[in-house]
Symmetry: C2
Subunit: 176 residues, 2 copies
Amino acid sequence: MSLRHAILGILSIQPMSGYELKKVIDESVGHFWTADQSQVYRTLAGLVADGLAARRTVVQEERPNLHLHSATGPGLAELDRWLASPLPSQPTREPFLARLFFADRMPPEEITELLDTRRRDVRAQLAALEAIAVPAESAETGQVLRLATLAYGIAHAKAELDWLDDTRRRLERSTP
Amino acid sequence: MSLRHAILGILSIQPMSGYELKKVIDESVGHFWTADQSQVYRTLAGLVADGLAARRTVVQEERPNLHLHSATGPGLAELDRWLASPLPSQPTREPFLARLFFADRMPPEEITELLDTRRRDVRAQLAALEAIAVPAESAETGQVLRLATLAYGIAHAKAELDWLDDTRRRLERSTP
DNA sequence: GTCAAATATATGCATCCGCATATATATGCG
DNA sequence: CGCATATATATGCGGATGCATATATTTGAC
């Protein structure tokens, strides 16, 4: 349940509406966390119910009213508590590996195709990350950290492309 | 919902009980997929209810009876359909990056500690993977693929250790 | 002029999942 | 003798989540 905390984190930087929050999530933490629109609103409602976020209705003309949310004192405390709490350290689920593990039920061409599809996906991810990972203007810690989360994705993507080459070579030498 | 398919995949290789299945999952696909005991039993019950797996009760003396499960014809067909279906290609969630992204709320020492903890975790993961990734005796496709899933984890772990070094250096040069 | 997209929020429904707990028996360790 | 562990299965509870859908208005494109 890191979405609660990711939202608290974003609200700690800047108060905003659910609508705007959804866009910010997609753009800023989208490379390591995703959330449905309804999930954003529900989580936000939960935070307000628990007193971790405050909601202020802003009446707008020519547009629907919006609820401006901000992190409260207890909200910031909870954010800091979470940051300092022990890391979960459980392996992430990899649907792609689940396929690969049983892929020998398919003919060799389709195994190759599975790997090629993955290569295209990873290449696209890599390109997307490199496009937004502009070297920080400032050496501020926050900037360095946020850039580091992008560099994480880039490093993993490059490693995976190498692994794909290697795996393809090993498969070509295998007996079906 | 890849657990259904992972279980079908295992049952396609060898019929077994829920109890044994849980152990096999932990040992063979545990590095990219985990499942609670109750979840294994529930998923198995679902597969049987959908006609994708068959259940045969084996009466045992000196031990509780067991339900031996095997993949049915429709079950194997579903497994193959899944293997050939398009890859989801959504980014995996990374709770660690969620922390790092907002870690500048903490004092520098605690940011360093977060990275050090992660380094220990990744090193431990790497060691565990290398311990079980014994080079295949045979060049059979299945063996090559299963070894490749371990190599995947090893490649990613090594890349992450490099990234951790890099990130630490960049942080030391940052202004708080 | 109409249809789509953007702005803005919310609920219903179903699913996946982890944790805790219940049940029953055999073996082994101290 | 007692307690933990292994074998074996199952349910209850609640949380996190995605998809679909509802509502209402304005702006822009064709």
